[in-house]
Amino acid sequence: MFEDKSFRVVVNIAGWLAMVFLVFPVILTVVVSFNGSQFIEFPPTSFSLDWYANISSIHRIGSATLISLGIGLMAAGLATVFAIGAALVLVRYPLPAKPVLTAFLLSPVTLPTVAIGIALIQFFIMLDVAFTWYSLVFGHIVLIVAYPIRTIIASLTLSDTSLEEAASSLGAGRLTVFRTITLPQLRPGLISGFLFAFLISFDNYPISIFLVRGELTTMPIEVFNYISQNLDPTPAAFSTLYIVIVSIVIMLAERRYGIISLAVGK
């Protein structure tokens, strides 16, 4: 197909323009973060690192980031543990109403996120546990559990059951088979599922905004508040740091576990 010159030229131009659109705001944010001006301006006029020093002036940014990390790790960890068992059953065991159960477990992703927030805050107020850290963790698990379920199911479909059969015919118990054969084969799915679950929890605003109050606050909420109240480029400096860290994590995860090929399905 790509031997046709007009076709090749059009695909190249359209494809690369679209890639430029995808990276343009990121590159610009990085450039603006090093500019000396009080306001967002491009092209930049002077160089300064002031905005990086000013990150600490985002209200409660330190404690909010720590809370987001803690909530994200707990929610993603629990979601992944839940997902291992669920994915194993959904792939390996004959069970009635399997499509219904799968659809139920994966459905929170397709719902308006605000709907989950509104439903949960009314429920937590009713139980008198609203605005607690654990209610925030539970809320995040509901949202993110679909991601590890998906990636672990993908890993399981690719894994080789004959190895497990061989192990158990050689006398290994069920737990030993699971620990030494099944789990290592699931590792890419576990890692990428955990990673995406964590990133989605860490970045969540629409559920958290309903479930936090006072000292209990998260990183996205504080950054959002800063952006809506200030015009200076401090958030650009924060964004640059965030993007650098995320890029390193994704590249390491790809190099070590090949998360990209897992997601694309080949």
Binding site: F7, M19, F21, I40, L88, L111, P112, V223, V246
Partner: protein, 292 residues
């Protein structure tokens, strides 16, 4: 006899119960019950309503379909979602074709960029668009330099800004499923079409596009659902006059403490969004004759 069958069955389902049970129980308590409770709440009256009523009624839903603020925001949400999804598809399809023909190094590069955008914070990506569209930002400066405007024009805080940011946010969700389904098309299909005399464009239209339909359906459906439920993006890049449904519902809950109406608005959005996706799936499977 019957007891032994029961026991056999129990044993068969025991591992499934132990491994799947906890998650099902968790999702029932923290997902199904809160949604049921919200639906029940939406059938109630609010003390501030004009004619508060006792017992259950669909009053809040009638209000949702009658008040101009909710009707406008429903229409706007639907319009923005359709436009954004179509633009996202048009922008992303060439990227997937590019991925198909690129050498491995470039392919991994493009996919890494896609994954990094997928993983970066939504708030941070929206902030990027606030920078791009700022009064002293690059777009304004280029247009002034080209003498198209004399003074900077306010481009952020508009429906156009919301659509731009939503398209940008949806791109990874469109690229990955379409590329996944393109990979599953055997190269011989395109070769056969070409050797039978079709040119590249006809091959794209008659062979590649129909065969990649499952991916296209997945990508467009996901983008549409994301746009329909967007909340942070219109908050950051829109104004009160461009409010989308999630914002209007959240406002009722957080500012007015009107839980019944806020619940009814968000349930209307959820059902509307499901209905459209359902009709879309039915159309795709009927017209294109593919299973999606």
């Amino acid at each position: 006899m019957s007891i032994s069958i029961k026991r056999g069955r129990g044993r068969k389902y025991l591992p499934a119960l132990v491994m799947l049970g906890p998650l099902i129980a968790f999702m029932f308590i923290f997902y199904a019950v809160p949604f049921g409770n919200m639906a029940y709440e939406s059938l109630h009256s609010w003390p501030g309503d004009e004619k508060p009523h006792v017992g259950l009624s669909v009053f809040q839903y009638e209000k949702t379909t009658q008040k101009s603020r909710t009707v406008k925001s429903l229409k706007r949400t639907f319009r923005i979602s359709i436009i954004s999804t179509i633009i996202t598809f048009i922008i992303c399809f060439p990227i997937t074709l590019l991925l198909l023909r690129s050498p491995p190094r470039i392919k991994v590069g493009i996919l890494l960029v896609t994954f990094i955008s997928l993983a970066s914070s939504l708030i941070i990506r929206n902030y990027g668009w606030l920078v791009v569209l700022a009064d002293a930002g690059p777009i304004n400066n280029i247009l002034i330099w080209l003498k198209i405007f004399e003074f900077p024009k306010r481009m952020a805080y508009s429906e156009g800004a919301i659509i731009t940011a939503l398209v940008h946010y949806c791109m990874p969700f469109m690229i990955l499923p379409i590329y996944g389904s393109l990979l599953r098309i055997p190269a011989s299909n395109a070769e056969a079409s070409l050797s039978l005399g079709a040119n590249a464009w006809t091959t794209l239209r008659r062979v590649i596009l129909p065969l990649s339909m499952p991916g296209i359906f997945g990508g467009t459906m996901l983008s549409f659902a994301i746009c329909m439920s967007s909340y942070v993006t219109p908050l950051m890049l829109g104004s009160p006059s461009t409010a989308m449904v999630s914002q209007v519902a959240a406002e009722q809950i957080e500012v007015q403490l009107n839980f019944p109406w806020g619940s009814a608005i968000i349930i209307t959005l959820t059902l509307g969004s499901f209905l459209i996706v359902f009709i879309y799936a039915a159309l795709v499977s009927k017209v294109m004759r593919v299973d999606v």
